[in-house]
């Protein structure tokens, strides 16, 4: 197992290097905006733009720029400074990380609390009216875009804009350390919006996996031994059915920690996703690079954690 972890870690580092390089290439090769021209403004002379280009280091060949960036990253964990407002990208990402973690963890809890039980109930009573209602509802939730669901929830339930003003308004987010009550209130709609599609997907996955597992021989054996049906389902059936769910959950958490862009935009939550969106609009390469790297890191890390967890969940899995 130890050797496996070391090997995966080394691959992860290589992968992150490739991601950072590709981001650089894409930004320089594809027609994105010219950050020096954006920074200079409408009436600026070409000479001024070139001066700004030199100030920002953009006059160097892109491989030289990449090397400078890489050196700063590896030696000092320096993610550079925003072309747009000269703020440190690392500081900005870390200041926004709590908001993104808040959205992700809360959303995760919500979708697991909703999706798994719904999936279990549907699996226990397949093709019943309840099953059809739940799976039909899950299809709607999967199909509705996050942006649409978010706006609808704001217009129905949010303070200031909603018909029923139960939850916090868009833009009302505060850190949990500032006011836990307001923090919770400001995120509840974001959690439920984010959870909707994920819960639906997880419900369908749980249902499918559990139905399949419940036909296995060892389930029949468990029943033959006289175990209660609830014990058969939870102790024997779910354990096998949830293994792939755990894998997915890990990857989804990793993905969201890189920034739930649409959710953060609709609910105006100052997380990494919102930062990434603004960076793209402003052709702010250091910020784009930083958010992409962060997102890639969380995905890679989450994959590693999930794979290790798999070995504990499924005794058949071993790593050399």
């Amino acid at each position: 197992m130890g050797a496996y972890i070391v090997r995966r870690t080394l691959w992860a580092i290589l992968l992150l290097l490739v991601v950072s390089f590709l981001t650089f290439v894409i930004f320089n090769v594809f027609p994105s905006a010219d950050p020096a021209a954006l920074r200079a403004g409408r009436n600026a002379t070409p000479a001024l733009i070139e001066q700004i280009r030199r100030n920002l280091g953009l006059d160097k060949p892109f491989y030289t720029q990449y090397w400078i960036y890489l050196k700063g990253l590896l030696e000092h964990f320096n993610l550079g400074y925003s072309y747009y407002n000269t703020e440190s990208v690392k500081s900005e990402i870390f200041s926004r990380l709590p908001a993104t973690i808040s959205v992700t963890v809360g959303g995760f809890v919500a979708w697991m609390l909703i999706g798994i039980p719904v999936g279990i109930i549907s699996a226990i009573k397949p093709r019943s009216l309840l099953d059809r209602i739940m799976m039909g509802g899950s299809l709607v939730a999967i199909s509705a875009p996050v942006y649409f669901l978010g706006l609808v929830s704001l217009f129905l339930f949010a303070q200031g804009t909603g018909v029923l003003q139960w939850a916090g308004a868009a833009g009302s987010y505060v850190p949990i350390t500032q006011n836990p009550g307001t923090w919770f209130n400001s995120l509840i709609l974001a959690w439920l919006t984010l959870a909707a599609a994920f819960a639906a997907f997880y419900a369908r996955m749980t249902r499918g996996n559990l139905i399949e597992v419940m036909h296995e021989d060892y389930i029949r054996t468990a029943r033959a031994k006289g175990l209660r049906e609830s014990v058969v389902i939870t102790k024997h059936g779910l354990r096998a059915a949830l293994t792939p769910i755990v894998t997915m959950a890990g990857m989804d958490i990793g993905l969201l920690l890189g920034g739930a862009i649409l959710t953060e935009i609709v609910f105006n939550i100052p997380g990494i996703g919102r930062y990434a969106y603004d960076a793209i609009v402003n052709a702010d390469l250091p910020a784009i690079q930083g958010t992409v790297l962060f997102g890639a890191f969380f995905i890679v890390f989450a994959n590693l954690v999930v794979d290790i967890l798999y070995a504990f969940l499924d005794p058949r899995v071993t790593y050399g």
Binding site: S32, A44, L154, I265, P270, D278
Partner: protein, 577 residues
């Protein structure tokens, strides 16, 4: 002035008439007594372009800069005529136009931690730092480049400009290399707001100034800061908090500054933000107009529509044709395009008649006797068509004269580079459809808005045949700021070019160069009106809308829209009811 990438919708020109008629009541633009105290909340979608007043260039940013800083001249909300702000009186111009003298008021102080009285040296430093590439003010060269000693190349430090003289603490004497009809008007730009050199110089060192994060104020408000001077009230992309400047003396200012605090909350979806303002959770919109669907709903609701103010945006949107590349290097072909273009359909992509009046030349109606009337006003329309929907027959007749016997273009495909998202993408589609009526096969390359400008349309060697999504707003209320950067041949530059059609007409250039030097306003506006007509007839660019911008207020505050700044709210005149 730079237009943010936002959809502007509004009523037909004559918005001023509508305001006067009571559409958008509750105005406090005359400075009538409001209620002291309270907090005003503004919502925005994006952030300011720069928090440093020496770098600011967006309309939205100006709404904040002008209430925290005091340039030499400024505007009351309902006026487009600059009046003294830091200046004690209007500048005096010598007979030959080469010397402009300004006296500043006594007793104006910087906010903490500087606290001392403002002197003429502070204005000198403020303007000089704009030429330092660490600050890189976007209009320093354009409007102050004629100062004696002004650098012609970017500087690596704040230069000393010999043409800005400070014979005493309260007098600034500007020496120019040539007369300028707009120099006095440019003194309203925030670059002329004083900056204390001894305090700011350390932040202006290096390749990028950090003075914005340590700025001091001279206006009635300041960005909240700590005792050391670091601003704590600005979190990029999230919030700006303005508090009262304790050193502001109301006796030196015509701003009433009723509210105690102003909070600008950023990152709002325009629909969500609009609903929050309507519900009273926030007070006014900043950089986004209410979306078209919301506007329709508001204008059909009798209680809500009185909270809406429409203001002209002092400019136009237009379609630029590359005059250096065939086929649009031919006058007759361009004029055929001007006839066939469906301006009504173009306007529909922005919301229809509520968005503004169909433009027939470049100086917009809000300029009035400052060039608009002299250009022929609403009666000047060299390419008329029924309902502005285009005249295919006239277009074909011109194409025949141009040598296309069938009346339709028969050459290679032409290319346009357009916005990849609505409404810009819709505008480009209308342009392509219109041109197809006279045989053009238009290939559309869709890119992000900023890339459209900085990689294609602003770079002559990369410029396509058509740039359909361009437009220009006046930097201040002089027609030169509308027409000179955008149509004078001498302003064609290899990058960051704003003369998108690459128009280089010697007769027009000559008249513009002459008008730039004209000090007599009456003569100047007549000349620019004539220039407007000449440019329009070349059909190098085809204007299609004079837009108006809606500002939505909550019922909890009084209204004050900046006529000079495209309807941005003047929060120093607003009060909580």
């Amino acid at each position: 002035m730079r237009r943010r990438n936002a959809v502007f919708v509004g009523l037909a020109a004559g918005a001023l008439v509508l305001v006067a008629a009571g559409f958008g009541n509750g105005g406090n633009t005359s400075g009538a007594q409001g209620k002291k105290g309270g907090t005003i909340t503004m919502l925005s979608n994006g952030d300011v372009d720069h928090i440093d007043p020496g770098q600011a260039y967006y309309q939205f940013t100006y709404a904040i800069t002008y209430i925290t800083q005091r340039p030499l001249l400024a505007y009351k909300p309902n006026s487009v005529t600059p009046i003294p702000d830091l200046a004690a009186s209007m500048p005096t111009v010598s007979a030959n136009g080469l010397t402009v003298t300004v006296h500043i008021k006594h007793g104006i102080k910087f906010s903490p931690p500087v606290n001392r009285e403002v002197t003429s040296a502070d204005v000198k430093y403020a303007m000089e730092r704009g030429f330092d590439s660490a600050v890189a003010n976007g209009y320093a060269s354009a409007y102050f480049g004629d100062l004696v000693g002004a650098p012609t190349t970017p500087q690596n430090k704040v230069p000393n400009i010999s043409g800005i003289q400070t014979p005493d603490k309260y007098t600034i004497v500007f020496k120019l290399t040539k007369p300028s009809g707009v120099f006095v008007g440019a003194l309203q730009e925030p670059l002329t707001a004083p900056v204390p050199a001894s305090y700011a110089r350390k932040y202006d060192k290096g390749t990028a100034s950090s003075y914005g994060n340590w700025q001091v104020a001279t206006g009635p408000y300041m960005i909240q800061n700590n005792a050391a001077g670091k601003i704590t009230g600005y979190t990029p992309g999230r919030q700006i908090v303005l508090v009262r400047n304790p050193n502001w003396n109301p006796k030196t200012s015509w701003r009433p500054a009723y509210a105690d605090k102003i909070v600008i909350k950023e990152g709002f979806d325009p629909t969500v933000g609009t609903k929050q303002i309507l519900s009273g959770s926030a007070d006014v919109n900043g950089d986004f107009p209410p979306p078209a669907a919301e506007l329709k709903s508001i204008t059909s609701n009798s209680s809500q529509k009185s909270e809406l103010e429409f203001t002209a945006t002092s400019g136009s949107r237009y379609v630029a044709l590359n005059t250096r590349k065939p086929p649009f290097n031919k006058l007759l072909v361009r004029q055929a395009v001007a006839y066939v273009l469906d301006r009504n359909a173009l306007r529909l992509t922005r919301g229809g008649p509520i968005d503004g009046k169909i433009a027939t030349h470049f100086i917009s109606p809000d300029f009035g006797s400052v060039g608009f009337n002299q250009a022929g006003g609403f009666n000047f329309n060299p390419f008329p068509s029924a309902g502005g929907s285009g005249d295919v027959a006239k277009a074909m007749a011109l194409m025949k004269k141009a040598g296309y016997k069938s009346g339709k273009y028969s050459g290679p495909q032409v290319t346009q580079v357009a916005d990849n998202s609505p409404p810009g993408s819709n505008t480009a589609a209308v342009v392509a459809n219109s041109l197809a009526k006279i045989g053009f096969n238009v290939k559309t390359i869709s890119v992000q808005h900023a890339a459209m400008y900085t990689r294609f349309c602003n770079v002559p060697k990369n410029e396509p045949n058509i740039c359909p999504n361009v437009g220009w707003l006046a930097d201040f209320h002089e027609p030169q700021t509308l027409l000179d950067p955008t149509f004078n041949g001498k302003n064609i530059i290899p990058t960051n070019n704003s003369n998108w059609p690459l128009l280089n007409d010697p007769a027009i250039n000559k008249l513009m160069d002459k008008a730039e030097l004209e000090l007599n306003p009456e003569t100047r506006y007549k000349e620019w009106g004539q220039i407007d007509d000449m440019i329009t007839k070349t059909a190098a660019a085809i204007p299609w809308i004079w837009e108006t911008s809606p500002t939505l207020y909550s019922t909890k505050v009084t209204h004050a829209s900046e006529l000079w700044n495209g309807g941005e709210p003047d929060m120093s005149f607003m009060s909580v009811k």
